[in-house]
Symmetry: C2
Subunit: 432 residues, 2 copies
C-alpha cells in the first residue's frame, strides 16, 4: 500500500464492488477487502430487477428505492459493459406474474391491485394473451399479469464485470478477511459485507437463507421461454429466470436459518412449482442446487449511511432480497456521501441510525425522529437534504467507540482528485 | 510386466475387481485394466441386495442367479473385510416393500403374490406391524410387506475394498483405456466393462440410464429409519436406502438413454415419492444428484461366459440393475471357468452364445437349445455341468475372429499355481 487509502470497502459483492467503482471513478484511492469476491449471496441470486413484482404491502419506502435503482439499471449496465466489454446479461423482456390455480390467482390479484394502486405498471393479461407471450406455460395456469419494466441481469456476470471496472478505475482488491473494522485503515470505511456486517458493526443484519436450483435447457439451446416468470403454484411462490445461455434459475426459499445446506424438501417444492407452471422444465438438466444467506433487516429495508458513533464508517448492507437491483443506487449514493459528506434525501429512510438503541439516561432519537420517509415519486417530494443523524450513538455490538456526540460530519468529505470523473447518468427517480 | 499374465480383466468395477480377486486367490497372474476404477455404474448404485424385491414376472432364471448370489453375500462381505479391514456397509435389517395409495398397494400385492408363489420369503405386514418396524413411514402408507433377506451393501465402500483385496492377492491395476481387445495380452481376457462391453465384443449390451439422489440426515446422525424401503407412491416406484453414516440413497429412474445428465423431472419424481413415503426426508440435506448407465441386455439378464468365436475371451457384463448383488456369484463362477475351462451349470442360461446370430447356411444353437434354466432352488435341481457352447459363432461387431468351429474349449484351462488358495466359503445356493 503506497499510502492510506481514501476508502476501504469491506466486501466484494456487487454492492461493495460498485461502490468501489464509483469511488475510484471520482478519483479516490480505494481498497476492497474480501477473501473471496462474489461468493456470497450474489453467487446464488437470480438477478431479478423487480421493483414492481417485489412491491409488497407496507414497504412503500423500499419500493421507492427499488424503483429508483431499477431506473438506473439500463445506463448502469451499458456503462459497465462499455468499461469492461463484459455482457452482464441485462435483459428487458419483462416479467410475467401468474397464478396456477384459482386460489393462486386470487392471491396474486390482491398484490397486483396494491401495486397498481401505488402507480406501478402492472398489466393484467387475458389467458390468451398470456399464452401468446409464453406458449410454454402450463395450460392450467389460470391467469397472469405483465410487469414489463421488471428486468433481469446475471449476477455471475455482474460481479466479474464490476470487479474489472473497479480495478480499471484504480481500485485495489485485497484478498484478506476483515475480522474487525480496526483491521482496515482508511479515511472512510464502507461496510458492504452482507451478513458479515452484523459482526463488524453490531447492526441488526441477520442471515435469511434462500435455496435456489439452476437448470439448463437440454441440447445447449436457449430456454423455451423469454420472460422472467413469477408465480404461485398451489400456494408455493416461485420464480423462473431464463438466461440466453440456456440457464434457468428457479428460486427461492425464504428461511430464517443461517446454514447453507440444501434440503430435499426445498428442492422438491421449487421443482414441483416450476414444473407445474412450465412443464417442459422437467426435461431440463438440473445442474446446480445452492443456498445463500441474504442480509435481512428488521424492516426488510437496506441499511445505508453513517454508522452512529463510528466516525468515518458507512454501512451499505441489509439489502436482503434486493441486493442486485439496489446495486446502482447504493453505489451512487454512497459514493456521493463519501465525496460530499452529505446524504442524499433518498437515503434518509435507510439510515443505520434507525436501529440505534435508546440511550439509558437520555433517550436518543429513534427512527421516528429521523427525517420523514422519501416519497416513492422521488426527490421532488422528498424532504430536503438529510442532516446527518445526530447525536450519533453506539449500536448494539459495535466493537469500539462508545456513545458520544460526533464533532462535525460523521463522514468526512473526501475531495475528489479527478474532478467529476466519468459522467454518472442522471436518471429520473419516478417510475415510467 | 514381468511376463504375459494369465488373466486380463477389462473393467475395475465391482464385477471386474471381484473376478480379479478370485483369480489372484487361485494363484493366477492377473492384470486389471481401467483408467478410472469404480467410476461407472457402481458409483451411482444404491447397493441393494434384493433378489426377492427384484423378482419380476418372467425372470425366473435371473431370480435364481440373484438368489444364489445374495446367499453368498454374508460370507463374501466377511471375507472381504477380513482381507482388507474395510467395512463395506453390509446391513441385514431387511427390506420393507410398501404401497402409498390403495392403487399402489394393489400393484405391489400382485408382485408379492408372484414372489411368494415361487417360494420367496415375502411376509405381508399389518399397518400396525409396518409402523412398529418403521415409525417414520407416512401415516397414509396403506400397507407393506417384509423381505427380511433382502439386504444392502455400500458400493462406494465395496469398490475400494475389492481393489485392495485384489491387489493384496497379487493382482495389478493398469490405469489405461482398453479400446479393443487386441490392446490386452493374456491367456484369458475377461470383459467386465459394463456398457463398454458392447464396443469391445459386439454383445448386445446397451446403456440404461438411472438417476439417483443422495440425501443426508441433518445433524450428522443416522437416518430415522433402518430398513431399505421400496415402494410405489402414486404409481412412482422408488427405493430409500439408509446408511449408518447418515446417507440415504433415493433411486432410481430406468431410462433408455445414454447420457448421464441429471434432469429436473427425475429429481422431482424421486424426491416427491421419497417424501410421500417418508415425510422426514424433506428435512434431509440434498447432497448429490447423479446418473449412471447400467449395462442392460435384451432379456435383462447378465452375459456370463465364453464369447463365441473368440477363444480365450470371457464376458462378465450385462448385469443391468443387479451388478452389486451378482458380484460374488459372478466372480466365483468366472474364476472357476478360467481355472477349469468348464462352466458351472448356473451359468448356462447366461451364456453369451444366446445372443449369437444364426449362421446363414447352418443355424447355430440359440438360447432355446442351451441347457435348461437353472432352477431357483439351486444346483441340486439344475442340469449337470454345462457343455461349452459349440460350435462358437461370431457375434455382431466382434472386432476379429470370423465364424468357425473352435477346436477344444473356448477357455483354455489355466492351472492354478498355488493350489487351492484361500478357502472360498461354500454357500448353499438355496434360499433360506
Amino acid at each position: 500500500m503506497l499510502s492510506r487509502p481514501d476508502v476501504a470497502v469491506v466486501g466484494a459483492g456487487p454492492v461493495g464492488l460498485a461502490i468501489a467503482w464509483r469511488c475510484a471513478q471520482r478519483g479516490l484511492r480505494v481498497v476492497v477487502h474480501d477473501p473471496a469476491p462474489g461468493t456470497g449471496a450474489s453467487h446464488v441470486a437470480a438477478g431479478m430487477l423487480a421493483p414492481v413484482a417485489e412491491a409488497y404491502f407496507g414497504e412503500r419506502e423500499l419500493t421507492g428505492l427499488l424503483t429508483a435503482s431499477a431506473a438506473r439499471w439500463p445506463a448502469f449496465a451499458a456503462e459497465l459493459t462499455a468499461a469492461t466489454g463484459v455482457d452482464v446479461g441485462y435483459r428487458t423482456e419483462g416479467t410475467l406474474m401468474v397464478g396456477l390455480t384459482a386460489d393462486d390467482l386470487a392471491e396474486a390479484r390482491r398484490l397486483w391491485a396494491y401495486q397498481q394502486g401505488i402507480g406501478l405498471p402492472v398489466t393484467p393479461l387475458r389467458p390468451s394473451a398470456l399464452r401468446d407471450r409464453e406458449p410454454a406455460l402450463a395450460p392450467r395456469v389460470r391467469g397472469g399479469a405483465l410487469a414489463a419494466t421488471d428486468h433481469q441481469v446475471d449476477p455471475r456476470r455482474l460481479v466479474p464485470a464490476l470487479r474489472a471496472a473497479a480495478e480499471r478505475a484504480g481500485a485495489t482488491l485485497v484478498p484478506a478477511v476483515v475480522r474487525a473494522l480496526s483491521d482496515v485503515d482508511a479515511r472512510v470505511t464502507v461496510v458492504a459485507a452482507g451478513c458479515g456486517a452484523a459482526a463488524l458493526t453490531g447492526l441488526p443484519v441477520r442471515p435469511v437463507k434462500g435455496q435456489v436450483v439452476r437448470l439448463r435447457a437440454p441440447g445447449g439451446g436457449a430456454p423455451g421461454f423469454r420472460h422472467v416468470i413469477r408465480g404461485y403454484a398451489d400456494g408455493e411462490p416461485v420464480y423462473l429466470v431464463p438466461r440466453a445461455d440456456g440457464e434457468v434459475v428457479v428460486g427461492a426459499t425464504v428461511e430464517e436459518r443461517a446454514d447453507t445446506d440444501v434440503s430435499a424438501g426445498a428442492v422438491l417444492r421449487l421443482l414441483r412449482a416450476a414444473v407445474d407452471l412450465l412443464p417442459e422444465l422437467a426435461e431440463y438438466d438440473l445442474v446446480e442446487t445452492a443456498a445463500g444467506l441474504r442480509p435481512g433487516t428488521p424492516d426488510n429495508a437496506p441499511i445505508l449511511g453513517p454508522l452512529p458513533g463510528r466516525p468515518g464508517v458507512l454501512a451499505a448492507t441489509g439489502h436482503h432480497r434486493h441486493g442486485i437491483v439496489l446495486t446502482p443506487v447504493t453505489a451512487d449514493l454512497i459514493a456521493d456521501l463519501v465525496v460530499t459528506g452529505t446524504a442524499d434525501p433518498l437515503l434518509a429512510p435507510f439510515t443505520p441510525a434507525r436501529f440505534a438503541p435508546p440511550e439509558p439516561a437520555e433517550p436518543a432519537p429513534d427512527a421516528a425522529a429521523l427525517p420523514g420517509p422519501a416519497a416513492v415519486s422521488g426527490p421532488a417530494a422528498a424532504p430536503g437534504p438529510a442532516a446527518l443523524p445526530g447525536p450519533a450513538v453506539s449500536v448494539g455490538r459495535a466493537p469500539s467507540g462508545g456513545p458520544g456526540v460526533v464533532a462535525g460530519p460523521v463522514v468526512p468529505a473526501v475531495e475528489s482528485r479527478s474532478g467529476a470523473g466519468p459522467a454518472v447518468p442522471e436518471e429520473e427517480h419516478t417510475w415510467n
